[in-house]
Amino acid sequence: MLKTFPKGGIHPPENKLTSSKNIKRLAVPKMVNVPIAQHIGIPAEIIVEVKEKVKIGQVIAKSGGFVSSNIHSPVAGTVTKLDKIIDTSAYKKQCIVIRTDVKDESNFEEKEYPLKQEIELSSKEILQRINEFGIVGLGGATFPSHVKLNVKEGVKIDCLLINGVECEPYLTADHRLMLEKSEEIIVGIEILMKALNINKAIIGIENNKKDAIDLFKKATKNNSKIQVAALQVKYPQGGEKQLVKALLKREVPKNGLPLDVGVIVHNVGTIFAIYEAVQYDKPLIERVVTVTGKKIENASNFWVKIGTPISDLIAEVGGMPEGTRKIVNGGPMMGKAIKNTDVPVTKGTSGILVIAEDEASRGEPKNCIRCGECVYVCPMGLEPHLLMNLSEKGLFERASNEDIMTCIECGSCSYVCPSDRPLLDYIRFGKNIVKKLQTSKN
């Protein structure tokens, strides 16, 4: 019996249409719009001016505090304006617009990065580099990685978990990266183990990616420190807390972090970015994006520069199919619909999903029939129907007592609800208000 987390979970259709498609490099866009708030925490501060020439990989916005991250120029070119542009949050946010310099060769040369296994930097230097090179969690939450790795004295870490679960339907970015860059990822894991001074790492991969499991098992045969664990296919296994529970049977305390039980979890994409930053001084200026959808002709995976408009990606896969209703940034479960196709790709864009008319519409909400499905599938052991009602009626204090803040917003409850009730919308709303109340209290 394969490992998995014990409570709740669902099995949405996988629809991994692009798992056999190699990661192609997308052509360098003519313009990039780089938002300054691509990570959780304080937005970065712009340090370039209009008309300034920037080099590829140059810092254009500096980290605005501890929970923040540097932002680097994805292309060589000229800053044309600092403007507010609609980003993935569906609001206009401050962006740096850079026009690509067509004559600059550094934009187009394809550098070879041969595998480099010797780790020259010391543990402190590695952590500093992760901070400077703007590495954030690439699984989707975009939490700055240096914050995660900043272990306070006295806290004991004994295990590093590598998240190769990719439980979201449709998305295959991590899967392809694992297949194509397995050795680099293993070096990346070793880099992190050195930085944290620990001797154990487990790579968790869901069983629907057998090729990746085999590949990693083979590659780590002679490496006693790194284990590979196949996991049952179940959503939301990629959630940090679920993964810790599944692999180590440890329960992360409520409102706590995996750090509290001696674990650090990183996504495979983040590990690869760390590898490139440490071994080749390459900042986080591009990422793998899956562009997919049932009606998309050439759905595939791409290396995309941060700031590329999503319209470029859709053009690359054969244009917008007829009857498109919704374009989602991320996967179908946790992703968010975007407002228009000028929205730029950010560090958190793991996929672009184009949904047709028949699949996009939500049913009309009906009365709750008390079937308890939402309670059954909630991976955090909450009562979604109750939380929704409390938020709807404005009883936020009680919602807070019912642990609304531990909700991981996986959307399993909304997915299973036979009455099409907008459970997650209301729970998110409740969380927002409770958070505000808590901060105003302190």
Binding site: K84, K336, A337, K339, N340, R362, P422, D425, F429, N432
Partner: protein
């Protein structure tokens, strides 16, 4: 036979006497003094319990009025100056006189001037819409049209106009309790002085985008052209972030800005129409007084009157 009747009567009478004596002493022992003024002031207040004064209800506001010495900064927006004067007379304290205010809607983005670019399926409340996305149109400052303000209005002073998709404030019923101002996630509703005959001039837009972008998302958006700023004789207009604001404290209602505004985003309400057909129109205006603020001032493209 007579005995049993007598016994039961005696028993009940003695029980009643004992209870009365106990209750008398208990009520003496546990007597709580309450200022009789509180009850009297409470009688004077409107009793709407709208919380517009900042207290949870009229009773607690009455307590506050009686117990605080200086009540010049306490005000009941529903009762207005009349009620406050009565309260002051009763308590022998001084109250500040305030100009009556009324809620106005600072958005004219009806369906035909502000085209929808996206569609949202989900719970229709402004609070959730504002949290999830910037609205179905390209304007991220304007009315979301889900009617949270209408739901909180306790005085039936608001309703949603189906054709424009915007809430309408019935100025006669508005008590300026401020519930809608608090509820609106976009801060579109503003309290402005009622003035004489309910005459008001204000900018009906909150769009901070640059002119071109604002105009593209909404035909009646303020584009920050500063024409109103230049023409205003009293320096009542300020422009911050490409958006004009008319300060009611300085505005003399001369209406010069209304005429120069290229996008018709400045709203004038309840002014008699200029020039032609003076007599007839006046009657019409009086009849229309109950019609809401934005109704009468909507710009040309939406000028068809939808209801009386």
């Amino acid at each position: 036979m007579t005995d049993s009747v007598l016994y039961s009567v005696l028993l009940l009478v003695s029980l009643g006497v004992i209870a009365a004596v106990v209750l008398y002493f208990v009520s003496k022992k546990f007597y709580v003094y309450e200022n009789p003024l509180i009850g009297e002031v409470d009688e004077l207040l409107p009793g709407a319990n709208c919380a517009g004064c900042g207290s949870p209800g009229c009773r607690s506001f009455a307590e506050k009025l009686v117990n605080t010495e200086d009540i010049s900064n306490l005000f009941c927006p529903v009762g207005g100056n009349d009620v406050m004067k009565l309260v002051a007379a009763k308590l022998g304290k001084e109250v500040a006189e305030k100009d009556p205010t009324v809620a106005v809607l600072r958005c004219q983005g009806s369906c035909d001037v502000r085209p929808k670019t996206t569609e949202f399926q989900g719970p229709r409340t402004c609070a959730i819409s504002a949290m999830i996305y910037s609205g179905e149109t390209d304007c991220q400052y304007g009315c979301l049209g889900d009617g949270d303000c209408v739901k909180v209005c306790k005085f039936d002073a608001m309703y949603m106009d189906e054709t424009t998709g915007l809430p309408v404030i019935i100025t006669d019923k508005c008590t300026s309790c401020g519930a809608c101002v608090e509820e609106c996630p976009r801060d579109i509703i503003e309290m402005r002085p009622r003035n004489k005959k309910d005459l008001k001039v204000f900018v009906g837009c909150l769009n901070e985008d640059k002119g071109g972008i604002a105009k593209k998302s909404c035909a009646v958006a303020c584009i920050g052209c500063s024409k109103c700023l230049d023409i205003c004789p009293k320096e009542a207009v300020t422009i911050v972030n490409n958006l004009a604001y008319i300060d009611p404290a300085y505005c003399t209602l001369c209406r010069k800005c209304v005429d120069v505004c290229p996008t018709h985003s400045i709203i004038e309400t309840n002014f008699p129409p200029k020039k032609v057909k003076k007599v007839e129109e006046k009657v019409a205006v009086e009849k229309k007084e109950k019609v809401a603020v934005i109704k009468e001032t909507i710009v040309e493209p939406v000028n068809e009157k939808t209801d009386a």
